[in-house]
Amino acid sequence: AQRVTQPEKLLSVFKGAPVELKCNYSYSGSPELFWYVQYSRQRLQLLLRHISRESIKGFTADLNKGETSFHLKKPFAQEEDSAMYYCALSDSGNTPLVFGKGTRLSVIA
Protein backbone atom coordinates (compact mmCIF):
# COMPACT_ATOMS: atom_id res chain seq x y z
CA ALA A 1 0.00 0.00 0.00
CA GLN A 2 1.10 3.53 -0.68
CA ARG A 3 1.95 5.60 2.35
CA VAL A 4 3.57 8.97 2.95
CA THR A 5 5.09 9.76 6.33
CA GLN A 6 5.98 13.21 7.57
CA PRO A 7 7.43 12.58 11.02
CA GLU A 8 7.29 16.17 12.27
CA LYS A 9 3.98 17.86 12.98
CA LEU A 10 5.68 21.14 13.79
CA LEU A 11 9.08 22.49 12.87
CA SER A 12 10.32 25.81 14.22
CA VAL A 13 13.44 27.46 12.88
CA PHE A 14 14.98 30.90 13.11
CA LYS A 15 15.05 33.21 10.14
CA GLY A 16 18.16 32.59 8.08
CA ALA A 17 18.62 29.04 9.38
CA PRO A 18 18.50 26.02 7.06
CA VAL A 19 15.25 24.11 6.79
CA GLU A 20 14.63 20.46 6.09
CA LEU A 21 11.13 19.04 6.07
CA LYS A 22 11.23 15.28 6.08
CA CYS A 23 9.13 13.00 3.91
CA ASN A 24 9.38 9.23 3.57
CA TYR A 25 7.22 7.10 1.37
CA SER A 26 6.25 3.50 0.98
CA TYR A 27 5.67 2.35 -2.59
CA SER A 28 7.02 -0.55 -4.58
CA GLY A 29 7.12 1.10 -7.99
CA SER A 30 8.39 4.43 -9.29
CA PRO A 31 6.16 7.10 -7.86
CA GLU A 32 5.91 10.74 -8.64
CA LEU A 33 6.49 12.88 -5.54
CA PHE A 34 5.13 16.33 -4.76
CA TRP A 35 5.32 19.02 -2.13
CA TYR A 36 2.23 21.14 -1.57
CA VAL A 37 2.09 24.23 0.61
CA GLN A 38 -0.73 26.08 2.32
CA TYR A 39 -0.01 29.61 3.49
CA SER A 40 -2.31 31.26 5.99
CA ARG A 41 -5.69 32.06 4.44
CA GLN A 42 -4.62 30.76 1.04
CA ARG A 43 -5.41 27.69 -0.99
CA LEU A 44 -3.37 24.56 -0.91
CA GLN A 45 -1.02 24.87 -3.86
CA LEU A 46 1.71 22.92 -5.55
CA LEU A 47 5.19 23.95 -4.45
CA LEU A 48 7.27 21.55 -6.50
CA ARG A 49 7.27 18.09 -8.01
CA HIS A 50 10.08 15.64 -8.38
CA ILE A 51 9.96 15.30 -12.13
CA SER A 52 10.40 19.03 -12.67
CA ARG A 53 13.70 19.12 -10.77
CA GLU A 54 13.25 22.82 -10.17
CA SER A 55 13.75 25.19 -7.28
CA ILE A 56 10.71 27.13 -6.18
CA LYS A 57 11.02 29.99 -3.68
CA GLY A 58 14.46 28.65 -2.83
CA PHE A 59 13.15 25.18 -1.96
CA THR A 60 14.50 22.00 -3.49
CA ALA A 61 13.69 18.34 -2.97
CA ASP A 62 15.67 15.33 -4.02
CA LEU A 63 14.19 11.91 -4.49
CA ASN A 64 16.29 9.26 -2.76
CA LYS A 65 14.95 5.91 -3.92
CA GLY A 66 17.33 3.97 -1.66
CA GLU A 67 16.01 5.69 1.43
CA THR A 68 12.53 6.22 -0.06
CA SER A 69 12.70 9.85 0.93
CA PHE A 70 11.80 13.17 -0.65
CA HIS A 71 12.92 15.75 1.88
CA LEU A 72 12.26 19.44 1.24
CA LYS A 73 15.17 21.77 1.85
CA LYS A 74 15.94 25.46 1.87
CA PRO A 75 19.33 26.88 2.87
CA PHE A 76 18.02 30.08 4.49
CA ALA A 77 14.50 30.23 5.92
CA GLN A 78 12.41 33.36 5.54
CA GLU A 79 9.44 34.45 7.65
CA GLU A 80 7.17 34.15 4.63
CA ASP A 81 7.99 30.44 4.46
CA SER A 82 5.83 29.85 7.52
CA ALA A 83 3.06 27.55 6.32
CA MET A 84 1.71 24.03 6.31
CA TYR A 85 3.65 21.69 4.03
CA TYR A 86 2.35 18.41 2.66
CA CYS A 87 4.30 15.71 0.90
CA ALA A 88 2.31 13.65 -1.61
CA LEU A 89 2.76 10.65 -3.86
CA SER A 90 1.09 9.45 -7.02
CA ASP A 91 1.66 6.32 -9.07
CA SER A 92 -0.10 7.47 -12.22
CA GLY A 93 -1.83 10.44 -13.72
CA ASN A 94 -5.36 9.22 -13.12
CA THR A 95 -5.06 8.14 -9.52
CA PRO A 96 -5.47 10.38 -6.48
CA LEU A 97 -2.55 11.75 -4.59
CA VAL A 98 -1.67 10.15 -1.27
CA PHE A 99 -0.78 12.86 1.21
CA GLY A 100 1.23 12.84 4.39
CA LYS A 101 -0.22 14.39 7.51
CA GLY A 102 1.68 17.61 6.98
CA THR A 103 4.32 19.61 8.79
CA ARG A 104 3.70 23.11 10.04
CA LEU A 105 6.79 25.23 9.52
CA SER A 106 7.19 28.24 11.74
CA VAL A 107 10.00 30.64 10.95
CA ILE A 108 10.89 32.82 13.91
CA ALA A 109 12.27 36.30 13.37
Binding site: Q6, K9, E32, F34, R43, L44, Q45, L46, R49, I51, Y86, S90, G93, N94, P96, L97, V98, F99, G100, K101, G102
Partner: protein, 112 residues
Amino acid sequence: SQTIHQWPATLVQPVGSPLSLECTVEGTSNPNLYWYRQAAGRGLQLLFYSVGIGQISSEVPQNLSASRPQDRQFILSSKKLLLSDSGFYLCAWSSPGGWTQYFGPGTRLTVL
Protein backbone atom coordinates in the same frame (compact mmCIF):
# COMPACT_ATOMS: atom_id res chain seq x y z
CA SER B 1 -7.42 29.77 -17.60
CA GLN B 2 -8.86 27.17 -15.30
CA THR B 3 -10.54 28.05 -12.03
CA ILE B 4 -12.19 26.01 -9.31
CA HIS B 5 -14.96 27.25 -7.07
CA GLN B 6 -16.43 25.88 -3.87
CA TRP B 7 -19.42 27.00 -1.89
CA PRO B 8 -20.38 27.77 0.66
CA ALA B 9 -17.17 29.02 2.24
CA THR B 10 -18.42 28.29 5.74
CA LEU B 11 -21.34 26.31 7.04
CA VAL B 12 -22.73 25.61 10.50
CA GLN B 13 -25.21 22.75 10.65
CA PRO B 14 -26.96 20.85 13.44
CA VAL B 15 -26.37 17.16 13.97
CA GLY B 16 -28.74 15.10 11.86
CA SER B 17 -29.26 17.74 9.20
CA PRO B 18 -28.48 17.15 5.50
CA LEU B 19 -25.44 18.50 3.70
CA SER B 20 -24.68 19.61 0.19
CA LEU B 21 -21.34 21.11 -0.79
CA GLU B 22 -20.73 22.11 -4.36
CA CYS B 23 -17.57 22.32 -6.43
CA THR B 24 -17.33 23.55 -10.01
CA VAL B 25 -14.42 23.84 -12.39
CA GLU B 26 -14.17 26.26 -15.30
CA GLY B 27 -11.89 26.36 -18.29
CA THR B 28 -11.27 22.65 -18.75
CA SER B 29 -13.10 19.57 -19.97
CA ASN B 30 -13.46 16.13 -18.44
CA PRO B 31 -11.35 16.89 -15.38
CA ASN B 32 -10.61 14.39 -12.67
CA LEU B 33 -12.32 15.64 -9.53
CA TYR B 34 -11.56 14.97 -5.88
CA TRP B 35 -13.02 15.61 -2.44
CA TYR B 36 -10.69 15.74 0.55
CA ARG B 37 -11.20 16.45 4.22
CA GLN B 38 -8.48 18.33 6.05
CA ALA B 39 -8.34 17.91 9.81
CA ALA B 40 -5.72 19.17 12.21
CA GLY B 41 -3.16 16.50 12.90
CA ARG B 42 -4.70 14.13 10.40
CA GLY B 43 -3.63 15.73 7.17
CA LEU B 44 -5.57 15.42 3.96
CA GLN B 45 -7.93 12.49 3.75
CA LEU B 46 -9.23 11.55 0.30
CA LEU B 47 -12.98 11.00 0.43
CA PHE B 48 -14.07 10.57 -3.19
CA TYR B 49 -12.72 10.95 -6.68
CA SER B 50 -14.22 10.88 -10.13
CA VAL B 51 -12.72 10.44 -13.58
CA GLY B 52 -15.97 11.12 -15.43
CA ILE B 53 -19.68 11.87 -15.16
CA GLY B 54 -21.40 9.31 -12.95
CA GLN B 55 -18.11 7.63 -12.03
CA ILE B 56 -17.42 7.95 -8.32
CA SER B 57 -14.83 6.08 -6.30
CA SER B 58 -15.14 6.11 -2.53
CA GLU B 59 -12.06 5.85 -0.42
CA VAL B 60 -13.49 5.99 3.06
CA PRO B 61 -16.81 4.36 4.05
CA GLN B 62 -18.86 6.87 6.02
CA ASN B 63 -22.13 8.72 5.92
CA LEU B 64 -20.98 10.98 3.10
CA SER B 65 -21.66 10.52 -0.60
CA ALA B 66 -20.59 12.25 -3.77
CA SER B 67 -22.16 12.83 -7.15
CA ARG B 68 -21.05 14.25 -10.46
CA PRO B 69 -24.17 15.34 -12.31
CA GLN B 70 -22.26 17.38 -14.88
CA ASP B 71 -18.78 17.21 -16.34
CA ARG B 72 -17.38 20.01 -14.21
CA GLN B 73 -19.58 19.77 -11.13
CA PHE B 74 -18.85 17.65 -8.07
CA ILE B 75 -21.18 17.52 -5.09
CA LEU B 76 -20.55 16.20 -1.60
CA SER B 77 -23.65 15.21 0.35
CA SER B 78 -24.90 13.69 3.52
CA LYS B 79 -28.39 12.74 4.62
CA LYS B 80 -27.64 13.11 8.33
CA LEU B 81 -24.57 14.90 9.60
CA LEU B 82 -22.55 13.64 12.54
CA LEU B 83 -20.39 15.67 14.89
CA SER B 84 -17.38 13.90 13.42
CA ASP B 85 -18.16 15.36 10.00
CA SER B 86 -16.88 18.73 11.12
CA GLY B 87 -13.80 19.78 9.21
CA PHE B 88 -12.40 21.60 6.24
CA TYR B 89 -13.49 20.15 2.93
CA LEU B 90 -11.38 20.66 -0.14
CA CYS B 91 -12.26 20.02 -3.75
CA ALA B 92 -9.52 19.55 -6.33
CA TRP B 93 -9.20 18.87 -10.03
CA SER B 94 -6.58 17.55 -12.38
CA SER B 95 -6.38 17.13 -16.13
CA PRO B 96 -7.14 13.65 -17.50
CA GLY B 97 -3.90 11.76 -17.06
CA GLY B 98 -2.36 14.76 -15.37
CA TRP B 99 -0.32 14.49 -12.21
CA THR B 100 -0.84 17.87 -10.58
CA GLN B 101 -3.95 18.60 -8.57
CA TYR B 102 -5.35 22.11 -8.17
CA PHE B 103 -7.32 22.90 -5.07
CA GLY B 104 -10.33 25.05 -4.38
CA PRO B 105 -10.64 27.48 -1.47
CA GLY B 106 -12.40 24.95 0.75
CA THR B 107 -15.53 24.85 2.92
CA ARG B 108 -15.32 25.04 6.69
CA LEU B 109 -18.09 22.81 8.08
CA THR B 110 -19.03 22.90 11.74
CA VAL B 111 -21.57 20.40 12.99
CA LEU B 112 -23.10 21.32 16.36
